[in-house]
Symmetry: C2
Subunit: 705 residues, 2 copies
């Protein structure tokens, strides 16, 4: 078989991974298709049924992130930055838990979080046949989307009625496979332990996506049921030793989004349209939030979490863009796509003699994805600004929109509702909506000013939506009107509106409710267009591509990440960069060294407690380590396990070489980064006087009945 | 005369300024048309010929900024941030003048700056007739531009030959008036005194464009001639008392750019295209520079000046955009334009019955400006990225381009050259080009990576220029190749190339030279298009508009700012904001108060010397003050004078309410901000042990011969 020329280029830059199936430690594997063979072959590790069960039942999903049960009493580990929002919301000017950390010395001291929901996957059912049967080739995209929405809604509802468990139909392989996931939900979640933000995020946004790192990015929460600590049958014990170099590790968690199975046209659209837009937006928000948080220590505290989130995404997207702008990466994708298309187009006559394959064969699924990108180009900014809400970046606009839409949507039959208002999602929605977390009016003002300005920059001052939204004022003037005038910071007002239904919402003169109504028509219209002309077209095309891929490779290629439970595996090892070899782990000593070299300036200030206890700490204690396992955003808080299923680390980041992993896996330099389990035990015992918590983690398992 | 309805809206928001001529303290006045009458009428101040002469001969132009002679021995005051680049370049890791400040205790200690050029205006000649006569209505825009270039080049050359003085033909009223300015040049400029950056820019980018302020943003340099301090016949004496509330002040300096006489179409283009693009670019640079400077104290020092410049422009442009997005501002402009057009269109039959006036009367000068904006829209990004150099944001790319172009351009007759290579500019160009200031390779790498990424974001990965520039690499990879491979950091190499001429440049394999050549064709082509299809069209149209305006108002409307010498005047007074009244000045005590309230964190850290000497300082000493005088960027370093022509302050900023002044003057809240002359004397004496410098400032004038 002759290989396209482009491949020759690739090898020299990316270290040369082959065109098909997976290599090395690639893969975020479904619980239903764990890579037992690969683990046996490469690591001599036998994946037992018991291990599989524990992976599923001891892994915990945070919204958009990961964690795991680490004691039979519902103790959950995750990252400090995953729990950051909750920790922030439990803080007051008088009790700054972000700055000072927190340790509950008794169960009674564990602090209930206002709006944290944890989910634990209980079962998986393949519902592909039922979902695909509902859609026939004769249907228009709109009809197909509606039919699929109806059938998934039915499946979810049936399941919920039958089991009482949260039920979600999950789309895999971009529409090649549909699974029904049932989860147990915990909404009484309490804070047990958080270190100071200064050590949890030592190096802050400077060190984000960098290695070597020296951060204690962990936090412990406890799930409660009926006012008591939840008794959980499956949990991961804590390893006192942690990993050594070259150990195999397994990473369990909820990787969010990868784009490895996307077509070339989609990736080019991301490179040329989506990512540049998102970067422009995030940089605009970041500049505004930085300016805000520098005004006073209080404002800094208020904005910290939002700012970190924005800076984090900005850096991640910048890394992704670098990856897509690397011609070797796209050449690789192009070659893979050509090979996958080969059997499909073998019998076809090209419609055009030259150009991209999708131009030559316009009827193929790949060409349909390309066509969807052209549709997308026409509506993407409107969609992002008006429907995704980029133009209204704030805490309270989403609240206003939910109040408005909830009243309209619950009046409709369940399958016809917008996804977020279906019965299966209502409880979670209300948890967020009625969160008593305080809202800073001045931060809302700064965010709305930045967002409305960005809106005008993107669409121009003459755009009808801009004129409508600004309503005769400058962005700053309009933001002031909204942020000062709204009463939605008050949870009682939100409840009044939701309970009062459509009549109450229609009577409301709240400026944010009025704004949400003002643009609801445009927002819904562009969402409809997006769902029908982009999402649905892509979904059907990708389902066809998935079939081609299944035929060629079976399920030896893992589906793209979807915020659902996955298992990755890899080897603990360092790597070389710019001629320097970085070790597989850092130490406590390294943290103190960097603190001194970087002149103890933010974000390289150590908390007072660490400085005071320095002499008590063994400087050789491993702090953070890296492995080759295949992770992505959403894996934050993922337990890293050894062969015995014990927690040897808590994943919290990737290095910058790993940012390209959205599109391709590489282990040349790409690594994920985890806190070493020994670092946690040492810090709990010697810095935080939290020996009881360390004991709970390492206690021998209770007797099996 | 019936007034358009739109005016009614305006008054309520902007405080209602009238449609024509100037009000209050509006105006950046030409030395040839000083507002003697207004000063007499409003302030009872008589502008003498002697005062006029001193204004011209004691005002000093820094590149893009202002200053003034303040002793007969060539001592010059300006802002620390104006001298920042020079101070930075005189710094080394061992001698950090930005951090520690500097005071030359003797003339021998005054530090020669590698590349500072000062200009002092000597005479002004009206050459409008000669310039306009060279252009005939029959000429194409290209021919007209060439003819005007030729005649201005001749005028400048004749003048230079005759006088030996730097000679520039200055375009005023967007082309309504041409003046020949002759300047005396000083290139041996030495640093005398600079405070620590921490107090010069106390509050840093947080306080930028804000008031109340407490910054000592001053620096002193000395002009030398023939190795000795320049003896200057005119200078401003330093006032020991400084201004009191409600005093009249005069501000002399070089305001850079205002857009008050621009047409509505031009302003809308700025609002919808130019400013959003520039903001996106600056935010991209800012994010990259912030990330860079946080990596280590050394990197922070290296990047400080560039980062401040970027953040400053970002904030200024954001304020301008807010202004243009204020419908009241545009309504005002629309009404003014309609009134100015009225006599012009009175006899015309509308080509279209409705729409904007420029659509109804497509032949008018205003419509031609609108048409130029449509031309601009098609080339603006390419022009900015490739020719202005946004895609190559660095110190060394401009060097490479100059080496390349200089070789080509000097071979041409003077008037045919690109402006910057005409004989009259060559000395200044070489001063910059051969500056021995060190260049940080790692900062170049960070800047180029950000810029090349921004290029790809803006034009997309498939754009031929992007593909050509990236040359098969990712932005980061390409930047590394350029920043590591270039030898242009070495001044000897630059000299070798410039002296070797075209042969040397053609033989060079320097990656930056190769890059400059690679895109020179595209860059020159887009510049040509820009100059012919936008600049020239606008120039001719604005000249016609200027004629209309001269007929209506004479020269009672000052021309837009052009980085040439202007005089503004105003009243020292505070203002109210959000119900709070801000005083006309701050005090030393306020600085210490803010330092404490803001927890002594950057950028609110006081230098150790200030902390140590706190007890010696009178906390009631005035620090910074505000007045209503009409200033803009470029006025940085402007001497603020009292009726006696003494320096009572040094202007260094506007407040954020003043950012809209690019487009409209208002004194409702808008103020410029200056360091109080007493603050400087107190600090020199009590903090810096620099009594001799204070004495030089306040010495009685030497005997008049």
């Amino acid at each position: 078989m002759s290989r396209p020329l482009t491949l020759l280029i690739v090898g020299s830059i990316l270290g040369g991974w082959p065109m098909r199936a997976t290599v090395a430690d690639e893969g975020m594997w479904l619980p239903t298709d764990l890579p037992a063979q690969a683990l046996q072959a490469k690591y001599g590790f036998t994946l037992t049924e018991a291990f599989r069960t524990k992976l599923m039942l001891a892994s915990v999903r945070f919204p958009g992130a990961s964690g795991g049960f680490v004691s039979p009493d519902g103790l959950v580990v995750t990252n400090h930055h995953v729990g950051g929002d909750a920790i922030q919301k439990l803080s007051t000017p008088a009790r700054d838990l972000m700055r000072d950390g927190y340790y509950a010395r008794s169960r009674a001291d564990e602090l209930p979080c206002p709006d944290v929901e944890l989910n634990v996957l209980q079962s998986i059912e393949d519902v592909t046949a039922r979902v695909t049967a509902a859609v026939t080739p004769a249907m228009t995209p709109a009809a197909a989307a509606a039919a699929r929405r109806a059938v998934t809604s039915d499946i979810e509802k049936d399941s919920f009625t039958k089991t009482g468990l949260r039920s979600d139909v999950v789309t895999l392989y971009q529409g090649g496979l549909y699974h029904l996931y049932r989860s147990k939900k915990y909404t009484d979640v309490r804070l047990v332990f958080a270190p100071e933000a200064a050590i949890a995020a030592f190096g802050g946004d400077v060190d984000n996506f960098e290695y070597p790192r020296t951060s204690l990015d962990v936090a412990f929460f406890r799930a409660y049921e009926n006012g008591k600590p939840a008794r959980v049958p499956h949990y991961f014990r804590w390893s006192a030793a942690g990993p050594a170099e070259n150990d195999m590790v397994l990473v369990t968690g909820h990787p969010g989004t990868t784009n490895r199975l996307e077509t070339l046209a989609k990736l080019k659209h991301r490179r040329d349209v989506t990512l540049p837009y998102d970067l422009a937006r995030l940089r605009a928000y970041e500049a505004a939030l930085t300016q805000y948080s520098e005004q006073s220590p209080d404002k800094r505290r208020e904005a910290a979490n939002v700012l970190h989130g924005v800076a984090n995404r900005r850096k991640a997207f910048a890394g992704q863009l670098q990856g897509l702008l690397d011609p070797a990466v796209l050449a690789q994708k192009e070659a893979q796509e050509a090979e996958l298309m080969r059997p499909v187009v073998a019998g076809l006559t090209p419609a055009r003699p030259d150009g991209a394959l999708t131009d030559r064969y316009p009827g193929t699924a790949w060409a349909r994805v390309a066509a969807a990108q052209r549709n997308l180009a026409g509506i993407e900014r409107d969609y992002a600004l008006l429907e995704r809400g980029d133009a209204f970046f704030s805490d309270l606009f989403p609240v206003a929109r939910h109040c408005l839409r909830l009243a309209d949507e619950v009046a409709k039959p369940n399958p016809e509702r917008l996804r977020e208002y279906r019965d299966s999602n209502l409880d979670s929605l209300k948890l967020t909506l009625f969160s008593p977390a305080p809202v800073s009016r001045s931060l809302e003002l700064a965010r709305l000013t930045a967002a409305l300005t960005f809106l005008a920059e993107q669409l121009g001052g003459e755009h009808p939506a801009v004129a409508k939204i600004l309503a005769g004022k400058s962005p700053a003037g309009r933001a002031a009107e909204l942020a000062v005038g709204t009463k939605l910071a008050d949870v009682a007002e939100r409840k009044r509106l939701v309970e009062g239904g459509r009549a109450a919402v229609e009577a409301s003169r709240d400026p944010l409710i009025l704004l949400a109504r003002l643009i609801d028509g445009e927002a819904r219209a562009v969402r409809k267009k997006y769902e029908e002309e982009v999402e649905e077209v892509e979904r059907q095309a990708y389902a066809a591509i998935a079939d081609v891929r299944f035929k060629a490779f079976g399920k030896s290629v893992a589906p793209d990440a979807t915020f659902t439970l996955r298992l990755a595996f890899g080897t603990v090892k360092g790597y070389a960069v710019d001629g320097e070899t970085l070790p597989f782990c850092t130490t406590f000593g390294d943290a103190f060294k960097r603190w001194e070299v970087l002149e103890k300036r933010e974000p390289f200030t150590l908390p007072p407690r660490w400085v005071e206890r320095r002499a008590k700490l063994d400087p050789t204690t491993p702090f953070d380590f890296v492995s080759t396992a295949d992770t992505i955003g959403g894996n934050s808080g993922s337990p890293v396990l050894n062969r015995a299923g014990e927690v040897v680390g808590v994943n919290f980041d990737r290095n910058r070489h790993g940012l390209v992993r959205n599109f391709v896996y590489t282990d040349t330099q790409a690594r994920h980064i985890a806190v070493h389990s020994r670092a946690v035990l040492e810090a709990l015992a010697k810095v935080y006087d939290a020996q009881p918590l360390a004991d709970e983690l390492t206690a021998p398992p209770p007797e099996t009945p």
